[in-house]
Symmetry: C2
Subunit: 338 residues, 2 copies
Amino acid sequence: MIFEDHPHRRYNPLRGEWVLVSPHRSKRPWQGQSEEPAREERPPHDPTCYLCAGNERANGAVNPDYSGPYVFDNDFPALLKDTPSEEETTSPLFRAHAVRGISRVICFSERHDLSLPSLPVSAIRRVVDVWISEYEDLARNHGWVAIFENKGAMMGCSNPHPHGQIWASDFVPSEVAREDEAQRAFLVETGENLLISYCAEEQDRAVRIVVENDDWVALVPFWAVWPFETLLMPRQHRPRLTDLSGAERTSLADILKRLCRRYDALFQTEFPYSMGWHGAPPRMGDTAHWQLHAHFYPPLLRSASVRKFLVGYEMLAEPQRDLTAEQAAERLRTLPET
Amino acid sequence: MIFEDHPHRRYNPLRGEWVLVSPHRSKRPWQGQSEEPAREERPPHDPTCYLCAGNERANGAVNPDYSGPYVFDNDFPALLKDTPSEEETTSPLFRAHAVRGISRVICFSERHDLSLPSLPVSAIRRVVDVWISEYEDLARNHGWVAIFENKGAMMGCSNPHPHGQIWASDFVPSEVAREDEAQRAFLVETGENLLISYCAEEQDRAVRIVVENDDWVALVPFWAVWPFETLLMPRQHRPRLTDLSGAERTSLADILKRLCRRYDALFQTEFPYSMGWHGAPPRMGDTAHWQLHAHFYPPLLRSASVRKFLVGYEMLAEPQRDLTAEQAAERLRTLPET
Ligand SMILES: O=P(O)(O)O[C@H]1O[C@H](CO)[C@@H](O)[C@H](O)[C@H]1O
Ligand SMILES: O=P(O)(O)O[C@H]1O[C@H](CO)[C@@H](O)[C@H](O)[C@H]1O
């Protein structure tokens, strides 16, 4: 199709937003900022790391001598349990309301030198189990539980010890509300679940699939913004993490490892990204329109040191990308997983 | 008000989106990525700069011996004039369409060592005039003309020579469509122009104003996402850049200089940002709901080398900020302009 070579726009039905694609622009030379590649050679235990077992944290607390995943309340949380109540503002141009929540940190392993994809599948499965048990715990009293990982200094991560975050809030955040609306409207209009229909069509077309197993599919979405963005979904209808069977939790650990090893192989570096889970909000009764999925948003474009910047045009007009989703998927698909 | 110290959300009526504010989190220590401060001491003319007068560009073209603003077609444009036509895709999950447009570069000055705020007001006025004449030229055949500047390596700018960009497209981009809708709905509901009402209320409240002159107001919007984000607006109803009087063009040059000098003074560095203009799209007949404005989105948070990252939670849930809009405005307001 002509869209391989010429400027065009694609529509993201999950966010109701367009992206400008400029495939001819990939040849542009780069003289701008170059990123510091990830520091190599980390020790298995770093005495100065506030996430390593047995070490002291910034607020004076001491980590236990844990092994496997370890969860604790963030020492500098963005959300707090005991925010005083206050009346909502009334002027339509000055709307604000108090919020309550909890921010936690999850260390994926006691090993300072590893990352999610370098753990064995059984250890990743333990991370999946902790995501789910934390979700169950926090979903009881919160409107949303955000489970995410910022990986790499480029993505604002301040410590290379493998870890992610869990922020639970009494409100449903904007991005989730947006996806909720889009999926609901699609079900009303077509009688079908948006992401289940989409995933089926992608499997017929094959060009954007990166890696699959019995239960899961990872692909570069047709409307991807970040150069090597991917979407990870179960094949069956699973509105939430808690709906996954034991087998699906293990196969999730498998596909996470395989997807991230391809990322690491792409530019021979610990591939930076922000990733996180979207599913039906905890308090929602009817979840027929929702399908669980994880987004991976990685910034690298051409090498371990050259990233894509989403700046002027992207912030003020709309997201823009150079290589196409199909080109990105092909590159990731042809890489080794070891 | 309690919102000074406690976690809360604020609503952005121009984009229909919330932002999470965590004022108590400003004390968080930072051990993550530190940015390279802008290279100091640039020569007035750099023989290796492809934007300096008389030098050769990447595609072999040679810049004339210009002085003042100089505009040329981008050598690696994201948009092209002659994209082949193609039928739109029909499946609701795979929507795409071809686009046409032009990308230009505008050097603000022949002086490699200066920046917008270090030019005299008369030279900034010439930049304003060129923005407007380019707009007039491109608006004739395009649905939108994006006028913006990425400043600083941190904002994806690959050359410190003072310059901005102009991308004209046959479509109206998502961000603009979103603001169009919000302003239109506000007019229908209240009979008033959203930003004119907002600006009037802000002048009564005073706490978020940064700098003003006879014709213009710059403030940190109530719903700001970036730490020192500002919104610059005319006092009178002006839907587009082309509606500005000669006096308003000069006072725009004045307030641009004053605002940016405060930015530069904040962390004693050439303050990086992406900025750009929003106004009624060229082909729109009824523009009563639109008010012209510029957004400044600067990434720095605490110093010339520590920025805010909009990553995991921000990408997957909703934007989050630490200091409040009022605190940011106060810091900018109390800085010198020289
Ligand atoms: O055209 P430039 O300055 O090389 O490129 C810069 O601005 C563009 C428009 O915001 C972005 O798409 C690029 O990612 C950025 O590096
Ligand atoms: O909590 P951390 O890891 O220190 O902070 C990081 O992730 C947060 C959530 O995405 C962001 O708000 C911060 O800007 C980022 O530096």
